[in-house]
Each structure stands twice: as structure tokens, then as C-alpha cells.
């Protein structure tokens, strides 16, 4: 789960990472009220999960109340690279002296957390790597003993941080690591990490990704919403406990098992088609889950044909067939379906479908034939 800046900063504050004071707002009056409380000047910031907010005009300095009102009105509803701004964060303006970059990431290769620091803040990490790979200092942390003070000092010295802020930067890294562990984060990025004119060290931005699998022990974080990023089908699927990812094509896909569904998307694309979604009905799916999944797929108006690709292991093909028959009874789809059933109880499943004689449902015996057929039918 990717958090918005203000949500990430809430977690930072909770663990002692210094951040500027700010207020969350969803309307212009709320933003102005927040700005009044903070005292001017303030910065009005669009809350969307995408880089380049500043360049797109989504971050503006307001010297007084009327400027705050103007900026809040302009930014709310703004489109930033395809995302509509529904939320604002109004923050006390900081006097910038230096901009650094700091991050703690879950390094899958090393299977350890990795802490990173650079003096070249304000640009993205790829740009830093391109401009001067030496400028990014990295080290791994042993998760069994945690982040050590010497590691904070080493990062700060090796990154060439100004002598007077070596200690506070090291301390901030230690607190970021605490946040990373305590909140079950997969990524924490502070860019820029600011040194103010008063030589204070604060996190001016926060990019945080949490582990969905750990949300059960972070019930407050599980409540975080992101109004601009929610896809209607993805939300509907989530409520029904299905794993669904929206794609931009016209062929609805349902399969069992993440690997097989990914493979199905590829085979459809190889046959010249464009998948509309990834939907993993999961292992051992019962008929009701299949019916529910068909509803989610068809709620996307772009879908002109649907492919079922099932290899039954724990999942029984007769249950899949029953689910599809029930879906036809309940929602009477108008688009063609191609169904490939193989594995556990495949004969029973195919017999059920033959008996039901559903309109516009085509069965194929292999994955490749099924992909070709659905591409042809999708038009």
C-alpha cells in the first residue's frame, strides 16, 4: 500500500522523525483554516502519489490568506499526470539551505533492509545514479540487531554531509529505520531531507509503501484512504476478496493462481489481444466466488470478450463451471466467453457447460487455442 505524503508524515512524527507542521484538507475553506492556524507563509501541496507534483503546479507557496485560498482552489481538482487531486496538505514553509536524499528500502536481493543517503536531494534517485553514482551511499542493516549508531555516522560522513549536521542526519536515519521496522514498511523515502537556514534537519517529503500482508497489525494504517488512486473495479474486487488488477485492454481474464493468470495475459497478448484485467480467483474457488468474479470483470464497460483459463489443482473445474452458469443466470452477459478447463474434474466441468448450453460460451481444450479464440471474438 502506497501512502500519500501527509499519511507518511503522520507515521514519521509518531516515531520521532522531524517534519514541518501541517494540516490535511479536502476543501478550500479547510485549507485556509489550516493555513491560518499554522501562520504564513505556508506551502499548499497536492496529495497524489506521483512524482513531479511541483513541476505540474501542484505545490505552491502562499504568503498570506488570499494566496492560500487561490492556490487551494487551483490545485483541488487539478489533473496531475492522469490523477485528479482530491486532497491537500498545507504545511508551514521551511527556509531551505541544503537538500539531501535519504531512504530505507527492503532489499529483496540481499534479504536485508538497505539505508541510503545522498547530498544530492531534490532530484529522483535514478537521476542521482545517472549524474553521479558515487553520490549515493548505501549500506545493509542486519535485521536481527537493527540499525547501529555507527551506520548513521558512516552514511553521513561518506555522503559528505556538512559537519555541523552529521549527528542530526545520523539520528534521523536511525529514526527512519525505526519507522521502517515498526510500521512494516517496504520503502521509506525522504526527498528532500532538508537542512534549514537554522541548520535544523527535517523530512520535507515522505514516500512510504507499507506491506499489505502486515496491515492486520497496523489497524490505523489500514484505514488510510487515497481518493485519487482508487480504481472502481479494483475496489469492488477488494471488497469481494478477489485479487484484481486493472489493465487497459478489452479482454476480461479469469484464472486460478497468480502465475497462471500472468502467463494467460502474456499468451493473449502474443495472440494479438489486449487484456482488460488480471483476476486470480485463487486456489479452491467455489462457484460463488466465480460468479462474483464475473460480475467484477463485466462491470468494466471496455470488456468485449472474456477468457477463463483454469488448471484445476485444489480448484475443481466443476465448481468453476457451476459458477459461470450461475453468473449467466444472474447477470445475462452479452459478451462472448471462451472457457478452457483442465485438471481436477475437468470432464465434469465441461459436461456441465455442454448441458447448460449457455449462449455465446465457447470451450477450448488448450491455453493457446483459447487465447487465439478470445482474441478473434473480442474484435
Amino acid at each position: 500500500m502506497d501512502l500519500l505524503e501527509y499519511q507518511g508524515k503522520q507515521l514519521f512524527s509518531k516515531h520521532g522523525v522531524p517534519v514541518p507542521e501541517g494540516r490535511h484538507a479536502v476543501t478550500v475553506p479547510e485549507a485556509v483554516e489550516g493555513a491560518d492556524e499554522l501562520g504564513y507563509p505556508v506551502v499548499v501541496k497536492a496529495q497524489v502519489q506521483i512524482g513531479g507534483r511541483g513541476k505540474a503546479g501542484g505545490i505552491k507557496l502562499a504568503a498570506n490568506r488570499s494566496e492560500a485560498e487561490t492556490h487551494a482552489a487551483a490545485i483541488l481538482g487539478m489533473d496531475i499526470r492522469g490523477l485528479t487531486v482530491h486532497e491537500l496538505y498545507v504545511e508551514k514553509a521551511s527556509q531551505i539551505d541544503e537538500e539531501y536524499y535519504a531512504a530505507v528500502v527492503f532489499d529483496r536481493g540481499a534479504k536485508k533492509p538497505m539505508a541510503m543517503l545522498s547530498r544530492m536531494g531534490g532530484m529522483d534517485v535514478e537521476a542521482i545514479a545517472e549524474k553521479d553514482p558515487e553520490a549515493m551511499v548505501k549500506l545493509h542493516v542486519d535485521p536481527l540487531i537493527g540499525f547501529q549508531d555507527f551506520q548513521g555516522r558512516r552514511l553521513a560522513f561518506e555522503a559528505g554531509v556538512a559537519a555541523d549536521v552529521i549527528r542530526p542526519v545520523g539520528a534521523m536515519l536511525a529514526k527512519l529505520y525505526d519507522t521502517f521496522v515498526a510500521e512494516d514498511a517496504m520503502l521509506l523515502e525522504v526527498n528532500p531531507l532538508l537542512v534549514t537556514e537554522a541548520r535544523e534537519v527535517v523530512a520535507l517529503d515522505a514516500k512510504v509503501t507499507l506491506d499489505d500482508n502486515a496491515l492486520y497489525r497496523h489497524l490505523d494504517s489500514a484505514e488510510f484512504r487515497n481518493l485519487s488512486a482508487e480504481d472502481p473495479q479494483e475496489r469492488m474486487a477488494k471488497e469481494r476478496g478477489l485479487t484484481y488488477v486493472s489493465l487497459d485492454g478489452n479482454i476480461g481474464i479469469l484464472g486460478n493462481g497468480a502465475g497462471l493468470v500472468m502467463s494467460t495475459l502474456d499468451v493473449v497478448a502474443q495472440a494479438g489481444g489486449r487484456p482488460a484485467n488480471f483476476l486470480d480467483a485463487g486456489g479452491g474457488s467455489k462457484a460463488e466466488a466465480i460468479t462474483s468474479a464475473v460480475e467484477v470483470i463485466l462491470s468494466n464497460d471496455d470488456v468485449t470478450a472474456v477468457l477463463f483459463n483454469i488448471f484445476g489443482g485444489i480448484t475443481r473445474c466443476d465448481e468453476v463451471a457451476k459458477g459461470l452458469i450461475e453468473a449467466f443466470r444472474q447477470i445475462e452477459p452479452t459478451v462472448p466467453f471462451v472457457v478452457r478447463l483442465d485438471g481436477t474434474n475437468d470432464k465434469e466441468g465441461r459436461a456441465l457447460l455442454a448441458e447448460a448450453a449457455l449462449p455465446n460460451v465457447h470451450t477450448e481444450s488448450t491455453m493457446l487455442e483459447a487465447a487465439e479464440r478470445v482474441v478473434e471474438l473480442a474484435g
Binding site: F106, R108, G109, K111, K112, P113, E126, D142, P143, L144, V181, D184, M186, D211, D212, N213, A214, Y216, R217, T243, V245, L247, G255, N256, G257, A258, G259, L260, V261, M262, S263, L265, D266, V267, V268, A269, Q270, P275, F278, D280, G283, F311, G312, G313, I314, T315, D342, G343, T344, T366, M367, L368
Partner: protein
């Protein structure tokens, strides 16, 4: 021969009294696996159709000589169960549980790395099947028979699909090992490929990978330097968009890394043939080993 599980496997199942745990334990036993015990804290003294249940792994190991554990407990208890099995002296821990927090997996991995006598397979994996010998996990054994193709895979159903294509071309399997779709798998492709390389029964190795991480790229380097047997690969997720998790917690393209194309390129650059779809994997196997039907 086979790898990891065979007729010497003595299995203890953590979570044996749960619905799924019971179902698959009995399935494994019906296949011929020696399922010697189960662990459910608080249910010691009971039995599941004759399989004795203990409160702790230590008791189960002491009294039934279990050498392999299968972990089936819910995600929030899984890391603890793996660590208990290791502490009790189990040498192979197969974890089926899906949805374990990544930080738990990371701590468990780094702890187990200090013990050379233990191996973890999974989490979030379908288990290990050595046809004709032993089945530990949820792989539907009916589709596979004994043979000389070793399969190692990050996913479940895709493995069955590939295994089935191989079976239709007349090939059986030495072992099928699911390493799981999570960000921190206990065993990597390389760990399992080393076992297949050393297994006299295995003549061909099939690697089934997917987007996310760099395990396939690392395997490609290892194969080029250390593997004499032919390897055929398959990679799923060419059409996956960056930044979206495709079902498995580990299947996500982050920035420019972890794409299917990069993985296929890395493998091909080191002489590993990559099938464009599961059917092609079987076709390449036929080219290498000759038709078997």
C-alpha cells in the same frame, strides 16, 4: 533419486487440525508420504485419523522422529512456527502459508541463514512432489509421474500447467519444487538447481520464473558457471505494468528492474533457452531430450 523429499521423509504438519491442514496432510499420506505427526498447541494427545498431534515441535520430533515440517498455520503464526521447527531440529521446513508479513520472512531468513543444517522452502509455495516417492504440500500429484525432468517454480498452478505439458510430451519428473511467490523465499532458484545438478536421476531442469526481484538473473549467472545439465526456462508477466503487484506479493516490477524481458534476456544471454509459453517449454524439452511418447 529425487531432491528434498523421498521415502525417507518423516513429515510433521504444523496446523494439522485446521481444515486445510487436515485435508492436505491426509492427501499427502494417501500418496504414500510418511506423515508421522502434527503440531497444534493445546491439542496435544489428540489425533487426526491416526496421526498423533503434539503441543510442541520438540515433542513431535522426540517421539515420532520427524525430519521434515510442513507449515500450514495462518500468516500471523507462521514465522513462529518455522522458528519452532528449526529449534526442534527439523532439517527441512516447507511453508505453504500465504500472506506472511515481509519483515517476518526477512527476520526468519536471516536467522535460519546462521544454521547450516536447516533448509526452508516457501513461504507461499505449493510444496515439493517427488513422484512415486513423497508429496509434501498441495501439488495435485495425479498429473505427474516419475521421470527425469526437475522443475523449480515460483508459482503453483503455472507449475501444474507446465508439468502437464511435459507429461503430454511423455516426460515425468524427478521432483517438482515450488519455491513460492513471496519477496523473501527461503530457498532460491540457485539452491534448488544445485540439488538437481547433483541428482543423478535429473537430466533436464525446468525453471519457471515470474516478474519481480532478480532471482532469475542470479540463477542465469549460476547456470552459466556451475550447471552442466540443460536448463529450459519460462518467465510469466511480460504484459504486467510497473508498480502493480500481480497476485504474488513478490511479483511486482519496480522502476526498471524485475521485468520479464530483462529476465528472459539474462537467461538467453547465458545460453538458457526460454519458452515463450508453457507449450513451448515442453517443445524445447523434446528437442533436448528427444521425444518420449
Amino acid at each position: 533419486m529425487a531432491v528434498l523429499v523421498d521415502t525417507d521423509t518423516r513429515l510433521c504438519v504444523s496446523g494439522i487440525t485446521g481444515r486445510e491442514g487436515t485435508f492436505h496432510s491426509l492427501n499427502n499420506r494417501a500418496y504414500g508420504t510418511q506423515v508421522v505427526s502434527g503440531v497444534t498447541p493445546g491439542k496435544g494427545g489428540q489425533d487426526v485419523e491416526g496421526i498423533p498431534v503434539f503441543d510442541t515441535f520438540h515433542e513431535a520430533v522426540e517421539q515420532t522422529g520427524a525430519n521434515t515440517a510442513m507449515v500450514f498455520v495462518p500468516p500471523r503464526f507462521a514465522a513462529d512456527s518455522i522458528l519452532e521447527a528449526e529449534d526442534a531440529g527439523i532439517s527441512l521446513i516447507v511453508t505453504i502459508t500465504e500472506g506472511i508479513p515481509a519483515h517476518d520472512e526477512m527476520r526468519v531468513y536471516n536467522h535460519l541463514a546462521r544454521n547450516p543444517d536447516v533448509r526452508l522452502v516457501g513461504p507461499n509455495c505449493p510444496g515439493i512432489l517427488s513422484p512415486g516417492k513423497s508429496n509434501v504440500g498441495i501439488i495435485p500429484a495425479a498429473f505427474f509421474r516419475e521421470g527425469n525432468v526437475g522443475v523449480v517454480s515460483r508459482s503453483g498452478t503455472l507449475t501444474y500447467q507446465i508439468g502437464n505439458e511435459l507429461a503430454q510430451s511423455g516426460f515425468g519428473n524427478s521432483s517438482i519444487v515450488g519455491i513460492g511467490g513471496d519477496p523473501v523465499p527461503g530457498s532460491s532458484f540457485i539452491d534448488i538447481i544445485e540439488l538437481f545438478e547433483a541428482d543423478p536421476e535429473t537430466e533436464l531442469i525446468v525453471l519457471s520464473g515470474e516478474i519481480g526481484g532478480d532471482a532469475e538473473e542470479r540463477a542465469a549467472d549460476h547456470i552459466a558457471d556451475h550447471v552442466s545439465k540443460p536448463v529450459v526456462a519460462y518467465i510469466a508477466g511480460f504484459t504486467a505494468p510497473p508498480g502493480k503487484t500481480m497476485g504474488h506479493a513478490g511479483a511486482i516490477v519496480s522502476g526498471s528492474s524485475g521485468t520479464a524481458q530483462a529476465k528472459a534476456d539474462a537467461l538467453e544471454a547465458r545460453g538458457v533457452r526460454v519458452g515463450r509459453n508453457p507449450t513451448q517449454v515442453a517443445e524445447i524439452a523434446v528437442e533436448i531430450l528427444g521425444a518420449r511418447v
